[in-house]
């Protein structure tokens, strides 16, 4: 790949020295601080919440009152971070006049997109690893809980899924930065998509599900199941929901199904934690869809970018 490495190192150096990175660092520090504080507070008020298997993992999925869990933090702020790194990747080069300078050098065009993407992902990965290590470390120090190998492996998978998830949002940001000439436009549109998939999709899913399978006062169990299925199908268009399902199942070994069927089917099975392979199988479809979404973003980005004119004006 001609030029990929060069673009990657240059962009990485840019990102690590940029204002974006400082903002990101503050977000990370705040999140880690909040989570540790919350856990500390609730444990001292009620120790009984923390018992049973996989204690270490519980600290990642734990939410108390108004403060959401770590998974929720990542599912909510991850997109924002991805968008921050992606939204001006290409159109800022275009408006700065650097694009024609760079692309008149002997490099492939996609090296520019790939290099920027990989550099952004590396930066985000460094952030995410540091926040996970901070939380884990403080937990070990404060509560004296030592993670088992399986827990570590699950945290590793969680990290991987998070990177894929944030990577999708960054890819989307890059796509919009190719499609729109103005950085303001691409930023706004990225944020619109994010808000749609975070909030509006819930309403949309409810409305459509109720239209297709209306629930009356005396709805049958079958109808309720159908309504729920339709709702879930629509919700799973949203990367946010996919990510939440994925990571919840990975960090909570007792989850076997999602949706209303959980309650029904779980009556028939012996309760107990799943092995790590089984947990991965549960969320495999969700994970594959996330990967597919990234690939779609990239495919469209490549096609559009290859055909674009590189004018300096």
């Amino acid at each position: 790949m001609s030029g990929l490495g060069v673009v990657y190192w240059k962009e990485l150096a840019d990102y690590l020295g940029s204002r974006k990175f400082i903002i990101l660092f503050l977000i990370v520090a705040l999140t880690a601080g909040t989570i540790i504080y919350v856990i500390n507070q609730s444990v001292s008020s009620d120790v009984s919440q923390f018992s049973g298997d996989f204690l270490f993992l519980k600290l990642f999925t734990f939410s108390a009152g108004t403060i959401p869990s770590f998974i929720f933090f990542v599912s909510f702020f991850g997109p924002l971070i991805g968008i921050i790194f992606g939204f001006d990747a290409i159109n800022s080069e275009r408006s700065g006049g650097t694009m024609s300078m760079v692309l008149s050098q002997p490099i492939y065009r996609d090296a520019l997109i790939n290099g920027k993407f990989l550099a952004g992902i590396t930066t985000i990965a460094v952030m995410l690893i540091s926040i996970i290590v901070i939380i884990s470390g403080l937990e070990m120090a404060v509560f004296g809980i030592i993670p088992t190998m399986q827990e570590l492996a699950r945290i590793g998978i969680f990290f991987l899924v998070s990177i894929v998830y944030i990577g999708f949002w960054m890819g989307l940001g890059i796509l919009f930065s190719i499609l729109f000439r103005q950085t303001a436009t691409s930023a706004l549109i990225s944020i619109m998509v994010w808000i749609f998939f975070s909030f509006f999709i819930l309403m949309v899913a409810n409305v459509i599900a109720d239209q297709v399978a209306p629930l009356g006062n005396n709805a049958t169990l079958e109808l309720m199941g159908r309504n729920e299925n339709i709702r879930n199908m629509i919700l799973r268009v949203s990367p946010l929901i996919l990510f939440q399902e994925c990571t919840t199942a990975i960090l909570n070994p007792s989850i076997r199904f999602f949706g209303i069927s959980t309650a029904l089917k779980s009556m028939e099975v012996i309760p107990g934690p799943l092995s790590i392979g089984q947990s991965v199988l549960v969320v495999w479809p969700q994970f594959v869809i996330l990967i597919a979404l990234i690939l779609v973003c990239f495919a469209v980005s490549y096609v559009v970018f290859m055909r674009q004119e590189i004018r300096s004006t």
Binding site: Y108, E309, S312
Partner: protein, 285 residues
Amino acid sequence: MKPTQTVLETRDLTKIYNGTPVVDKLNLTIEEGEIFGFLGPNGAGKTTAILMILGLTEPSSGEVSVFGYNSTREPLRVKRITSYLPENVGFYEDLTAWENLFYITRLNNIPEKEAKVGIEEILSLVGLSKVKNLEVGKFSKGMKQRLGLGTVFVKKPKFAILDEPTTGIDPQGVEEILNLIIKANREENITIFLCSHLLYQVQKICSKIGIFSKGKMVALGSLDEISKKILTEKSNRLEISFDNTQDTARLVESIKKLDGVLRVEKRAEDISLEKIYTKYFQEGS
């Protein structure tokens, strides 16, 4: 003398936007060592032609090759030996002049040691040695233009395409840059493709001129060839300057007596701003 090589060759090169041909069957050949001046009004399709030469835009039909490499199919090979200075050149504003040049050499796979030596040379050549560690964001337009010229020569090209290299530069700087281009052409044997609206510059340095209008090359050749075609005037004019202490009337009379003189006209010297400017700054500096 080595046999000269064809640097650029286009065959019926055409680009059509929305049904309108912007570049219409362009046939152009540039030989090694030439300085080619590409003239034309705004919107004539000059930039589109350049983009096709570099393989940054696909032609609608026709072919273009640089040193025998097809620009559309082998753009990387073409771009390895060709430098391009875009009309509105931009740099990474957070990086210093040195870092910007270094990035270019990295993209061209020039070994680090060689690159570092080359960058210092280029910086002194374009007169930016003193500000090499200054962020480009703080540069003036003229300094950026000089740095742009630096990016052209730092990759040691065989062929350089310069789109308006002297915009935003003060007259003395223009002179320096033109000399730089001539020097690169003579000493490094870099073939130059120069786009400019400033006819005076083109006339001064170009060995071959092409006039491009509405997508078509309307005139092509050396300045003499073109002027022979266009100018049908039979008489030649000769301008004579002399200092004003002389008896002008007597001089005029004696010139009139010479054979073949049609008309003698006495005029005070035209005051051109350029002359004043050059004089002032050359004496002042």
